[in-house]
């Protein structure tokens, strides 16, 4: 399969420090002073022209946060974070603009090409702007086409969504334009008091996405390509709220397979999903934040709270995640199965290499009758990394007929990494049926030699075996992204053998 070979070629050429390319910014435009106080919270709210209720909401969260302490139960180690040494507000920083694709480092272009990201998106991601009085007509054409294309694509999307009645906008805009929806649902899944990082996010969140799908509407497109174009500069405290009204369906894709570097080391996002009667939300994530260099220095701390509420009868929420980046990942996309007959799914591929630490999993909380959930987790540990699956499956006293199936598989590459599985299972009524399967395996020398004898290099062989291992989960991703994710997986395992 060509994907594997391409990947390996790329891997050979580019090392971890490739991240330095292309993601530089010019000077900051506007920054609030370091540290967090009521003044800073007010400043953020004011900068965003928020209504008074929003400011109150933030302030309540801030006051609550002051009383909380950082959680330490996860299997991750890092130096203590000084929360007064962080900038909590910076106006979106313009990227260093370039006039055409020709000015971009060819290595970066190759990266995009290998990942299969269309040129017009590359132009957007790299912040290409047409210049006035451009000399080279050929260059100018590329630039203008690229930008024009992406703008027109975005516009077409917008028109189509509007026709369907789907609201899709930055949450900062939604706060002003659809306050009734935001007020009703914001914090209704992840309350401001939920946990240290979610509470911090509630106080200082910068921006994020808001989606509302009206009753009986099937969202006409994956909210992906569009999202990818517009996702830049949402910052370190992202807040996303998605509401699928009765009988509606939406598939949402977050993230990008292209490497993303950010100077902000701490990321604490909150994602809330609400599915009403007969509604379905499919949420897919591909996370490829900077994992730190080959000595384990730097890298993003990713402390995320993601939760979906199957609030209505027969509703369904499905999480699919491919986690390859970040120095530390602390993330448990969960489902509250409140509505009768509702169902939740969690499909996960978590890859750690180098010095990465992953503590990720899910919570399936069965509250309604005849609810079902399914967990398929594939953890891959390489290098000197630690990879933990932590999951909770619980059935309430009244949640009769609850069913869960869990399969946790871990794959070890090399002998300096660790894989851990920490499942919590609680059934508070006797009619629940919970199944749990777990395996841990190592890529055997015999399998690698077999592949190599047939002409594959060591890295190609590992890529192939790993892609086979994660196939069940990859299949859950939207088509176009599955292909990119497959390549990304092999890239992430760079240097894990030999």
């Amino acid at each position: 399969m060509p994907a594997v070979q391409e990947t390996v070629e790329r891997v050979k050429r580019i090392d971890v420090d490739q991240y330095r390319y292309g993601f530089e910014t010019l000077i900051d435009s506007e920054k609030a002073p370091k540290g967090l106080s009521e003044e800073i919270v007010k400043f953020i709210s004011q900068k965003k022209n928020e209504p008074a209720w929003m400011l109150q909401w933030r302030l309540e969260a801030y006051r609550r946060w002051l009383t909380m302490t950082e959680p330490t139960w996860a299997r991750v180690e890092y130096p203590k974070i000084d929360f007064q040494d962080i900038y909590y507000y910076a106006a979106p920083k313009p990227k260093k603009s370039v006039a055409s694709l020709d000015e971009i480092d060819p290595e970066i272009l190759k990266t995009y090409e290998k990942l299969g990201i269309p040129l017009r998106e590359v132009a957007m991601l790299e912040g290409i702007e047409p210049k006035v009085g451009e000399q080279d007509p050929a260059q100018r054409k590329i630039a203008v086409d690229a930008v024009f294309d992406s703008v027109s694509v975005a516009t077409t999307f917008k028109a189509e969504l509007k026709k369907a009645g789907v609201i899709f906008m930055p949450i900062s805009e939604a706060i002003r334009e659809h306050p009734e929806l935001v007020q009703k649902y914001l914090g209704s899944v992840v309350p401001t008091s939920d946990n240290f990082y979610a509470t911090l996010n509630s106080a200082v969140f910068s921006d994020g996405s808001f989606v509302y799908v009206p009753p009986a509407v099937r969202c006409p497109m994956e909210l992906s390509t569009y999202f990818r174009i517009n996702e830049r500069n949402t910052g370190q405290f992202e807040r996303t709220l998605i509401i699928a009204d009765k009988g509606s369906y939406v598939s949402y894709l977050e993230g990008c397979t292209a490497p993303q570097r950010d100077e902000n080391q701490l990321h604490a996002a909150v994602v809330e999903l609400v599915a009403l009667d007969d509604a379905e939300i499919k949420y897919s994530t591909v996370q490829n934040w900077y994992p730190g260099n080959s000595e384990g220095k730097g890298g993003i701390y990713n402390f995320v709270t993601k939760r979906g509420d199957c609030r209505g009868r027969n509703s369904k929420i499905s999480w699919t995640q491919v986690e390859t980046g970040s120095a530390i990942t602390w993330k448990y996309p969960s489902c509250i199965l409140r509505g009768d007959n509702s169902s939740g799914e969690f499909y996960s591929i978590a890859i750690s290499n180098g010095f990465q630490q992953v503590d990720s999993g899910t919570k399936m909380i069965h509250l309604g009758k005849n609810t079902s959930s399914r967990i398929i987790s594939k953890g891959i540990a390489a290098g000197k990394s630690q990879n933990t699956y932590r999951g909770l499956v619980t059935a309430h006293r009244k949640a009769t007929g609850a069913r869960n199936f869990t399969a946790c598989d871990s794959l070890l590459i090399g002998d300096k990494c660790g894989a851990h599985t920490v499942p919590y299972i609680e059934a508070k009524n006797s009619s629940a049926t919970f199944e749990h399967e777990a395996t841990t395996s190592k890529i055997s020398e015999d399998v690698l030699f077999y592949c190599i004898q047939r002409g594959l290099s060591q890295e190609e062989a590992v890529g192939l075996v790993v892609n086979g291992f994660v196939k069940d989960v990859l299949q859950q991703l939207p088509m176009e992204f599955a292909v990119e994710a497959q390549k990304l997986i092999s890239i992430s395992l760079e240097g894990s053998v030999g």
């Binding site: 594997v4 070979q5 399998v447 592949c451 190599i452 004898q453 047939r454 002409g455 290099s457 192939l464």
Partner: protein
């Protein structure tokens, strides 16, 4: 020039010498059988030729078309045309056989500086070959060797041999675990691959396989050396008298 020349090869595994100066020459178009009791070093020889890690060559040479094979990575040897059919082919869950075949074939072609096969060309070729080996298309969609019977696994090895068109095929105990019908199908597949350019080395305990794949030369190995060479008649004699006589000779 000989296709394969093994000269006075000495090999150790974890400080223990397994091959004590083995010499073997294989020319294009020839079929050689290497016979010998368990532990005589037959499989070690095949692994060292293919480049499996864990073996230390302390002396001697292996030349492939005059080039030093021991200097090459195992994948490089594969691309040059060295193929080892495994005694126990491994299972690779989640990787469709078809995907595996294509990845491997294109990796080899690329290493040789040839164009990769296009999808239609590749599919045509696989269909053609698998049909002649009586391999159902549905088997190609399953994970590599996952849930395959012993016979299916060996046929899958022959299928790869046919696809990759190697210059040298080493069949390591191809008859192990096969019933007589499965053995015949696999052997027919191998015979169909005989060409004046291709050499085949058959490693086996038993004479039985050599009724189907008729060798030009038979070598008897004992305690890490070739102790006797002859034609196919030698295999029949062995069947009669057993290996014990050579144990003493070695």
């Amino acid at each position: 020039m000989a296709l394969l020349e093994v000269k006075d090869l000495k090999v150790r595994v974890e400080e223990r010498e397994i091959l004590h100066g083995l010499t073997l020459t294989v020319n294009e178009g020839e079929i050689h059988a290497i016979m010998g009791p368990n532990g005589s070093g037959k499989s070690t020889l095949s692994h060292v030729i293919a480049g499996k890690p864990g073996y230390e060559v302390t002396d001697g040479q292996i030349l492939f078309r005059g080039e030093d094979l021991l200097e090459m990575d195992p994948e490089e040897r594969a691309a040059k045309g060295v193929f080892l059919a495994f005694q126990y082919p491994v299972e690779i869950p989640g990787v469709a056989t078809m995907t595996f075949l294509r990845t491997a074939l294109n990796a080899q072609r690329k290493a040789r500086g040839e164009d990769e096969y296009s999808t239609p060309d590749f599919l045509r070729k696989v269909r053609e070959v698998s049909k002649s080996l009586n391999i159902p298309q549905d088997m190609l969609k399953r994970g590599v060797n996952v849930g395959f019977s012993g016979g299916e696994k060996k046929r899958n090895e022959v299928l790869q041999m046919a696809l990759f068109e190697p210059a040298l095929c080493i069949l390591d105990e191809m008859d192990s675990g096969l019933d007589i019908d499965a053995l015949r199908i696999a052997a027919d597949g191998v015979n169909a691959l005989r060409t004046p350019k291709r050499a085949i080395v058959v490693i086996t305990h038993y004479q039985r396989l050599l009724n189907y794949i008729i060798p030009d030369f038979v070598h008897v190995m004992s305690r890490g050396r070739v102790v006797k060479s002859g034609d196919k008649q030698l295999a029949l004699e062995l069947e009669e008298s057993g290996y014990a006589q050579f144990e003493d000779a070695a």
